[in-house]
Amino acid sequence: MAGLKLDGLRKSFGANEILKGVDLTLADGEMLVIVGASGCGKSTLLRLVAGLETPTGGRILIDGRDVTQADPSARDIAMVFQNYALYPHMSVYENMAYGLKIRGLRKAEIRAKVDAASSLLGLDALLDRKPRQLSGGQRQRVAMGRAIVRDPKLFLFDEPLSNLDAKLRVQMRGEIRRLQRRLKVTSLYVTHDQVEAMTLGDRLLVMHQGVPVQLATPTEIFERPADTYVAGFIGSPAMNLLPGLMRRNGTAIAVDDSEFALGPQRYALPDGHPVFLGIRPEHVALAADGMAWPVEVVELLGSEMLVHATRPGGATLTLRTPNAPTGGPAMGETIRVAFPAERIHVFDRDSGRRIEPA
């Protein structure tokens, strides 16, 4: 039985179409991370699944049950909000017990469940405190405790780590991952941070302007991005996309007056077909007889450096290279680069879509 199934989900606000049709099936116990820039519709999607908004079209099924018209309280879900949404006038214990009280559980049962959740999250010492007496990380854990205690069919996370400082974020990321794995609850997690997405998700859904662009495992998305948007979004610094033309019957790409071989692969594209050559900064190699690029800026990052080069025509290239003890490329120098054939990605210039070799 699928943990969550979305069937042609659409949402418009007046004339503004935010979600243009989303189909999705989550396996039971799977953690799916929805990632995209602001405005792509990911939060709207989450709120539809939560029942805080009603869809304009399509269906939502949680654990096989059609909940499209159901009230949030009837969906058996729990949500962790970006700003935690803890009840300020209740203690930590009361915050976690609230939903259970409403469901009519007996005091002893509530006590047992809250204690179990609080020891899982390390909140035992804080049960009597009010939210305003807690730090950001502690509040975050209480918000999660409140969700866990309900033992729901589905967890929803709405950018829960955005309000934490960088160090805390890394720590909490790990905790969320461990918790979800242990409890095996189907989870939907929304974030704009691609690092969070890559580390937390069993699968990722990249969204762009209301449309799902790629649904795949993190590795797949990193190694084979479905289009130029995903290619530019995942991976930091972003993948280089150089405009070029197909050559040699689909076995090479010409960028300006340099040519790059595509290896043993052959692409079913005619010569002269406009494409983007995609190459990640960490895969750009320095080669004595390669394409010339004048260096504009060099950023030293400790163990490695980022080199930004710009050609007279305006095209830019970023490359990442370990910090050489003798010092690497300097500003004003011209470097020569080569792209290993097996690292080159080919995208159709008009549609932006990835092209696989024939």
Binding site: P72, S73, M79, A85, L86, Y87, H89, Y98, I102, R103
Partner: protein, 293 residues
């Protein structure tokens, strides 16, 4: 709470604060002191000399059944006006806060009554409830209910309570609405997901978070009912029939100005002063230093 960045100088600020300070001393503190002084004195029959009589005026006051009755009456009046106006305002604010269409229109239409003077509230309700000319008043008499607030004390009390509460609903509504809108939406959504709906959500989440507003309005309304309603009660029937609507503030006026009993009136003023100070002190304790700092 104080500012960290300041300007130097001592003369300038003293000059800036002087006008208000002078007016405060002359028209607030000096009269207050005078009231206390007068309350401890009594004029002789000819109004020529005054003698110090200590707390006698107060003893007389609390020994006077009319005064004690007035205290009870005023308390009853204040509680009724406060409960009625807060209750109605809360219901309206909760409804106006929901996602219904035309919210802005409803809000505007419920805010303008703030501008109505207490005296005007009385005039308007008299126009409605006058036994002969009032739409409602005349109708009541026609269907057989003996309605004449000029003769019946209970009816008079009902009328002034209604008029006074009616006028204050708007003020309470404004504050309740602001208080409700200050509750973060996500907290209400979390409650919804936790399973709380409708009245339960109101009782366990919204009301507790509204308590500062409730305490604040409680004090404001009680002070309003005790003092600002002078015009309302006076305009309806000057405290009549007899003494049935004579609240404490009316008594201060009637005894002091109309009956020229300065000693008694001053003592009454002092009693009222103490009452206000106690109320304000209570508000201070509940809301903490938020009222001042």
């Amino acid at each position: 709470m104080e500012r960290r960045t300041l300007f130097p100088g001592k003369l300038l600020p003293a000059l800036l604060i002087l006008p208000q300070l002078v007016l405060t001393l002359v028209f607030f503190l000096w009269p207050a002191v005078q009231a206390i002084k007068s309350s401890l004195e009594r004029e002789d029959a000819f109004g020529i000399s005054t003698e110090f009589v200590g707390l006698e005026n107060f003893a007389d006051l609390f020994g006077d059944p009319l005064y004690v009755a007035a205290i009870g009456r005023t308390a009853f009046f204040c509680v009724c006006v406060t409960l009625l106006s807060m209750g109605v305002a809360l219901v309206l604010a909760v409804l106006a806060d929901t996602e219904i269409r035309g919210r802005a229109f409803y809000r505007t239409m419920l805010i303008w009554p703030y501008a109505v003077a207490p005296a005007m509230a009385a005039v308007l309700w008299v126009l409605m409830f006058h036994p002969q000319i009032g739409l409602v008043g005349a109708w009541l008499n026609r269907i057989g209910i003996d309605w004449d607030y000029k003769l019946d004390g209970t009816q008079a009390m009902a009328l002034v309570i209604l008029a006074a509460a009616w006028k204050q609903i708007s003020y309470n509504f404004i504050f309740f609405l602001a208080g409700l809108q200050a509750i973060p939406k996500t907290i209400l959504e979390a409650a919804r997901i936790d399973g709380a709906r409708g009245f339960r959500r109101f009782r366990t989440i919204m009301l507790p978070l509204l308590m500062p507003t409730v305490y604040f309005l409680l004090v404001v309304d009680l002070v309003y009912a005790a003092f600002d309603t002078f015009a309302t009660v006076y305009a309806v029937n000057a405290g009549g029939p007899g003494q049935s609507t004579q609240t404490l503030v009316l008594k201060v006026y009637l005894d002091g100005i109309v009956n020229a009993n300065v000693g008694s009136s001053s003592a009454q003023s002092v009693v009222l002063m103490v009452g206000v100070i106690v109320l304000c002190a209570l508000q201070f304790r509940f809301l903490g230093r938020k009222t001042v700092t």
